[in-house]
């Protein structure tokens, strides 16, 4: 019965985010033999996991404002999940991207290296060489404590091989 109340609260929270002011009610929920017990805060979604050993772990909830910020980031700023159609990379100039992106972020570097790999796959070795040399130069500028060694080695490999093809 308690769970039924929580469900109603959870649903109304999702549909009308403004119902967050209600008092949180934790609901103990057993998760089966020899596992653990979890409690869910019906308002914020905070989950308390009580392990068989007695140790308690709290998984943080999410306020209405925090969720709205995520919705804004996801739908408004990014237009949903990342979408990669075939040939999407033909529409993007990686050298321009190189000027815009923060190269200390690994995901940005991976994205740029992927342009180089695609050119290598397509046997467009001259373009691969040009882009690879520029990426190498820029990566080396931000390579602190040699943490990007593997990425730099991969670019060096493509540059070296592209010269020979």
């Amino acid at each position: 019965m308690l769970w039924g109340r929580l469900i109603r609260m959870a649903m109304s929270d999702s549909e009308v985010v403004g119902s967050m002011e209600a008092v949180p009610v934790p609901a103990p929920v057993t998760t089966g033999p020899a596992t653990s017990t979890i409690s869910v805060d019906g308002i914020t979604g905070e989950v308390t996991v009580r392990k068989a050993s007695g140790k308690v772990k709290v998984r943080k909830g999410q306020s209405k404002e925090e969720y709205e910020n995520q919705l804004h980031d996801y739908f408004q700023l990014n237009g949903g999940p990342r979408k990669t159609e075939e040939k999407w990379m033909d529409e993007v100039d990686p050298l321009r991207l190189l000027q815009e992106k923060d190269l200390t972020i690994k995901l940005n570097r991976q994205s740029l290296s992927n342009f180089c790999e695609r050119l290598y796959y397509q046997r467009r070795y001259d373009e691969c060489l040009t882009l690879g040399e520029e990426l190498l130069r820029r990566y080396q500028e931000v390579n602190k404590k040699n943490k990007m060694q593997r990425e730099i080695e991969e670019l060096e490999y493509m540059v070296k091989r592209s010269k020979g093809k």
Binding site: W3, G4, L6, I7, A10, M11, D13, S14, E15, V17, V29, T30, T31, G32, P33, T35, S36, I38, V40, I43, T44, G45, V47, V49, K51, R59, Q62, Y67, E68, Q70, L71, H72, D73, Y74, F75, Q76, N78, G80, P81, R82, K83, T84, E85, E86, K87, W88, M89, L107, Q110, S111, N114, E117, R118, Y120, Y121, R150, E153, E154, Y157, R161
Partner: protein
């Protein structure tokens, strides 16, 4: 639909060609075979692999399990866990969750970009079970049914919702769970023929799936059978034994994405498609790329010494060259691309 200042898109419209429930219900009548489904694999069911599966008669493809808690809270998790495109359909997004709040938020964020959502109630990994996720849910009937009910009450037929469960030691418990899920509004149920504690080295129990199928028939909710679909001939066999409307392969398609097209071993064309899609969509983490190719080449019975060489290669470009050294690897657009079945050895 506007919520606060954020415009939230509606769930993606469902038509006969992309409605997974319609596909599962009609394949036996229209194609004389069960619906064919590539199941969710931790790490591996990313967009390039999903597109390869679709080249070979796979009706429905799943994403890897995405943790709702992380997805609704963390932009980096969203970027890492889910990418798609206009041809990524019919697509099921599998979610790992232990509460209604996160699930409803997750559905709100994902439903505009997929054709259905599946709740993972089968993952036996200790770390997830401890959190009340995956397999833990089959021992928590009330919670699981409340999650299904909450989504279906909010979205009705606008969102397809599936649960993927494992069997219990006591099959009647599975029957009870399935009947309750049907009453809660689940669109279909995928049943893995192993219990929480059955090792993958033990065979899946199709009789148990049949037992459940026979006892929920009156509910008219389709069942998909999962487990040990490793060869093309397994598809019909599993459907016949279990009476299921669809068959899900997981490890089988990882090694041979053309399994549902009737290929006994992975055709070379899969390798060429996989290389193309991986690089066309913007790459995969190298270890993923390497593991996919390892699984396919091993299935083709490439000699062990070459497989070992492949595993020693350290980067994407080097791996491309390794393929070029040993095989005639055609690029997309080149004559004969993705038409070869047998391994095109370089020196033959």
């Amino acid at each position: 639909m506007e919520k606060g200042s954020v415009l939230i898109p509606r769930p993606k419209p469902l038509r006969p060609h992309n409605d997974p429930l319609h596909i599962i219900k009609t394949r036996k009548a229209t194609h004389k075979r069960p619906a064919t489904i590539a199941g969710p694999m931790v790490r591996y069911s990313k967009l390039p692999f999903r597109q390869v599966c679709r080249q070979y008669d796979t009706d429905i493809v799943y994403t890897p399990m995405i943790l709702a808690r992380e997805f609704v809270r963390n932009p980096h998790a969203r970027l890492a866990d889910f990418s798609t495109n206009s041809s990524d359909s019919p697509l099921m997004v599998q979610v790992g969750t232990n509460n209604v709040m996160d699930l409803l938020k997750f559905v709100e964020m994902v439903a505009p970009y997929c054709d259905g959502i599946g709740i993972n109630c089968g993952c036996p990994i200790k770390e997830q079970v401890r959190e009340g996720i995956g397999c833990a849910l089959i021992y928590n009937r009330e919670l699981l049914c409340s999650m299904v009910k909450a989504v279906k009450e909010k979205y009705g037929d606008l969102v397809r919702l599936e649960t993927k469960i494992r069997i219990h030691e006591d099959w009647d418990q599975t029957v009870k769970l399935c009947r309750d899920l049907c009453s809660a509004g689940v669109d279909w149920i995928t049943i893995h023929g192993r219990t929480k504690n059955t090792r993958s080295s033990h065979t899946a129990n199709f009789e148990a799936i049949r037992y459940v199928v026979d006892r929920i028939r009156d509910k008219q909710v389709p069942v998909v059978a999962n487990g040990d679909c490793l060869q093309s001939e397994d598809v019909q066999k599993i459907a016949e034994i279990t009476g299921a409307d669809g068959v899900m392969a997981v490890r089988g398609v990882l090694s041979n994405p053309a399994l549902f097209s009737g290929f006994k071993t992975c055709p070379w064309s899969c390798v060429e498609w996989f290389w193309y899609y991986t690089l066309e969509f913007g790459g995969l983490p190298y270890q993923l790329l390497q593991h996919h190719l390892y699984c396919m080449l091993e299935n083709m019975e490439v000699p062990r010494n070459l497989i070992k060489e492949l595993m020693d290669v350290k980067g994407t470009a080097e791996l491309l060259d390794w393929f070029g050294d040993h095989f005639e690897l055609k690029r997309y657009g080149e004559p004969g691309f993705a038409t070869c079945v047998d391994i095109p050895w370089k020196n033959q």
